[in-house]
Every structure is written in structure tokens, then in C-alpha cells.
């Protein structure tokens, strides 16, 4: 019996369209109910309670559902495109590579990628090319996760994974990067636990990750290798999960769980690299007094640096792949690039823990 791997492009495209139509139907219904609730000739405490329940619980829940439908429509669209591209290139071997919308939150990359490709990956508008200097520092200071400076690509998931691995075992990174005699770099990544060597030319996307001075770094080379690994375009690493980054970087089996508490997180960090994820927000009110909304980015990934007692309580230090800032905000608020969070702040802002066994 033949076993098919891959997807029916037409079916995927049709399903994606259905998701979009359903989202639009739900949006229309939400607006209609919004209007009816506001205009209904009903006054009094019960009416007020009903209207508040609608605006604070039910409407946001509908909005969240809308967002999920649209996100998944995008996943289906990209899967269909990937399948069509793969089928055209391979004559129908049709391995489904999955896809990922947006930034940070991303999508399932199981089954994705895993091979070297000739030439440069497609810049996808993130160019031009910037030459990589003949030597790139790979000492522990250069591999510090604070040296990662994400730019215009939505690859926080990848950079958080890289930064967490580099923090845990910088020698692992050095052992997996080889400068060749012809000036190219060979990065050893993994597919289903097996090593895959990705060789890249010494030039990287100008809009890709750099060091804090704006120069290409080890992370720039890894990022380019990842773009080749995951499909041959910088767009292929736009959106994803740090668990997929961990698997591709280390070859080990990652885990993905809810946020838990800081004591759990401390234990996880002792066992190996850890990254955190935040999710989308169905609604946004930027003018309130919520303490941490001004610092933590939704749909984003962070590196876990430390969990330790400070000021009499357990706190976590997280690093944003955007890179640390040198200063507090000009209104005296804490920095955006790295922050210490209490357990309460941690639980309010993060919903996913990605971890992988240490490579040490």
C-alpha cells in the first residue's frame, strides 16, 4: 500500500479560505452584537452588569477566536505554498514542511527543513548582503546572549533558542561552527537528531541579527544557516517556536510546557537551556496602569538567564533577543531589553516554557 506524505494543495487552500470566511462571519456577528448591546433599551444594574460582561469577557473571547482563525488560515496558506513549491522542485515527493505565521508565537515546524542548499538563501527583502569579516569572535564574551541584537526579521524564536544554548554551553556553539579555507562557514545543525552540515557564504542579510555594534556575529552566521536549513529563504525563519530551534541546534528532544512557577523554572534551567514564550493579545488598552505591559512583548520569545532570590523572593532574569538596553526608560521605568520579574509578573506575562537537555 502506498503511503502519501504531504498535502493536497487545493484542499489546504480551500480550508484556509474557509477559515478566513469564518473569521469574517464571526467578526460581523461580534460587531452586530456590540451595537445591539449598546443600543438596547435596557437600563439598571443588571443591564450594566450584562454590558460589562460582554465587553470584558465575551467580546474579547470572540476576538481571540477570530485571531486564532486568521492565524491558522495563514498557516494553511503557507503550508499550501510550501507544498506547491516542494512538489514543483522534487517532482511530487511532497514532504509537508509546515509553516509559521507572525513572529514569536510561530507555528509547528516538525518535519520541516534539514538540508543544505546551494548558493545564498533568498533575502526576501531583508537585504542587501553585508560581508562577514574574515574573523568572527567566538570567545565566551562574544557568545553571551546579551550580544544578540535581533533586527527586522521575526526570528526571536530562533535567536532565543540560540542565545539560551550559547548561555548554557558556549563551547557547543564553537564546536558547531567551522570556518573553511575558502572563507565560507559550515554550521552543523540537526534533523531528527542526525547532524546536517549547512555551508554558508561569508555574507549575511543586513536586516538580520547583528552584535550590539551592528556588525555580523556568530549569530548572523547561524541565522543564515537556519534560513537555508528551513527552506532557502530568510522568510522561512520568520515566525516559529523555540522548541524547534532547540531541536535543530542541539539535536536533542526539546520540551514545551506551560509556565509553571519560578521554582520549576529554576529546576529546568539547571538541566539545560530554557526559553520563554508570550502569546498574542486579543485586546489592548495602552493607557492603563498594568505594570508590565510596557515592558514585555507579546508574540515573542525570551532567553532565561537566571532564577534566584532577590529582595527576599524568587525572581527570574530574562533577556529579550532585541538586545539589552544601556539605560532605564526616560520615565524611570525598567529596561525593555532585559528585566527581572517576580513570580506574579512572570506568570502574568509568559505562558510557555521551552527547554532542552544541556549539551555540556
Amino acid at each position: 500500500m502506498r503511503t502519501m506524505f504531504g498535502a493536497d494543495v487545493e484542499a489546504l487552500t480551500g480550508l484556509g479560505s474557509s477559515f478566513v470566511e469564518s473569521a469574517e462571519t464571526l467578526e460581523t456577528a461580534r460587531r452586530q452584537v456590540d451595537g445591539i448591546v449598546a443600543a438596547a433599551g435596557w437600563v439598571g444594574p443588571d443591564a450594566e452588569e450584562f454590558r460589562q460582561d460582554w465587553s470584558r469577557r465575551l467580546a474579547p473571547a470572540l476576538a481571540s477566536c477570530l485571531g486564532a482563525l486568521r492565524d491558522n488560515a495563514e498557516v494553511l496558506r503557507r503550508n499550501a505554498e510550501d507544498q506547491a513549491r516542494t512538489s514543483a522542485a522534487d517532482g511530487g515527493s511532497g514532504l509537508d514542511r509546515g509553516g509559521a505565521p507572525g513572529t514569536g508565537g510561530g507555528g509547528d515546524r516538525s518535519g520541516d527543513g534539514g538540508k543544505d542548499r546551494p548558493g545564498n538563501p533568498d533575502l526576501s527583502g531583508h537585504g542587501p548582503w553585508v560581508d562577514v569579516p574574515p574573523t568572527i569572535p567566538l570567545d565566551d564574551a562574544a557568545l553571551d546572549p546579551n550580544m544578540i541584537n535581533q533586527q527586522g526579521l521575526g526570528d526571536c524564536w530562533l535567536l532565543a533558542g540560540l542565545g539560551a544554548v550559547a548561555r548554557d554551553d558556549p563551547q557547543f556553539i564553537r564546536d558547531h561552527m567551522q570556518l573553511n579555507a575558502d572563507g565560507t562557514w559550515t554550521v552543523t545543525m540537526y534533523k531528527d537528531g542526525d547532524p546536517v552540515e549547512i555551508t554558508v557564504e561569508p555574507e549575511v542579510a543586513q536586516d538580520g541579527v547583528m552584535d550590539p555594534s551592528g556588525n555580523p556575529s556568530w549569530a548572523s552566521i547561524y541565522e543564515k544557516a537556519a534560513a537555508e536549513y528551513w527552506g532557502g529563504s530568510y522568510d522561512d525563519i520568520d515566525g516559529g517556536y523555540s522548541s524547534d530551534a532547540f531541536a535543530a541546534i542541539t539535536g536533542a528532544t526539546p520540551s514545551q510546557t506551560g509556565e509553571g512557577n519560578l521554582s520549576d523554572l529554576k529546576d529546568r534551567l539547571a538541566d539545560g537551556p530554557v526559553a520563554l514564550g508570550t502569546e498574542d493579545e486579543p485586546s489592548w488598552w495602552p493607557f492603563g496602569d498594568e505594570v508590565d505591559d510596557a515592558r514585555v512583548v507579546p508574540n515573542h520569545a525570551y532567553i532565561v538567564d537566571k532564577v534566584e532570590e532577590r529582595d527576599g523572593e524568587l525572581k527570574v532574569h530574562v533577556i529579550n533577543p532585541w538586545g539589552p538596553g544601556a539605560h532605564l526608560q526616560n520615565d524611570g521605568s525598567d529596561k525593555v531589553g532585559d528585566m527581572w520579574l517576580t513570580e506574579k509578573q512572570y506568570k502574568e506575562n509568559f505562558d510557555t516554557v521551552y527547554a532542552v537537555p544541556s549539551t555540556r
Binding site: 470572540l62 533586527q151 526616560n330 529596561k335
Partner: protein
């Protein structure tokens, strides 16, 4: 020099020494707004801007938020930024 960039929420386009973290792009009571983390070597500020707003950074230049593309039910939108760098020769 003027540079125009499109950027999605979660990314951090850079204009010379200015890093612009796109924190949130969404609709607030139907109005498209963007929350940006503006960081230079000397300053850091998180601001919320309307489409068409400009933000001046002393000694660096002026950032314009030319367009916001936002949807209901998410803060995962996109923006078009235009940065006018201060010309040192002036």
C-alpha cells in the same frame, strides 16, 4: 538621509543607532495604534503612537509612523516607519 521600512510586530528594525522594537500594533477602540520601544545609546523610551505621528530623538533624527496595518482581536500588526536622520554636516 531618509529611510523607509516596513516592520511586523515582534521585530526590531534599526535605523543607524536607533533601534525600534515593534511591541504592539493593534486597534484600540477602533483606532490603530502602535507601541514602540525606541532605544539609542543614550536613551530608551516606550511610546504609543497614532498613524501619522512623529517622534523626535535628540541628536539622532525624527521617526515617523507613516502607516499602521492593524486588525481586530490581535496586536500582531505591521507598520511603515520613516526615519529622517540628522545630517551631521548641517
Amino acid at each position: 538621509m531618509t529611510t523607509v521600512r516596513n516592520a511586523r510586530q515582534g521585530s526590531q528594525p534599526t535605523f543607524g543607532v536607533l533601534r525600534v522594537g515593534i511591541m504592539r500594533v493593534g486597534l484600540v477602540d477602533g483606532t490603530p495604534l502602535a507601541q514602540l520601544a525606541l532605544r539609542t545609546p543614550s536613551d530608551e523610551a516606550v511610546v504609543v503612537l497614532d498613524e501619522g505621528d512623529a517622534f523626535e530623538l535628540d541628536g539622532v533624527g525624527t521617526l515617523h509612523l507613516d502607516e499602521i496595518r492593524a486588525s481586530e482581536g490581535t496586536v500582531r500588526g505591521e507598520v511603515t516607519l520613516r526615519f529622517e536622520e540628522i545630517d551631521d554636516a548641517d
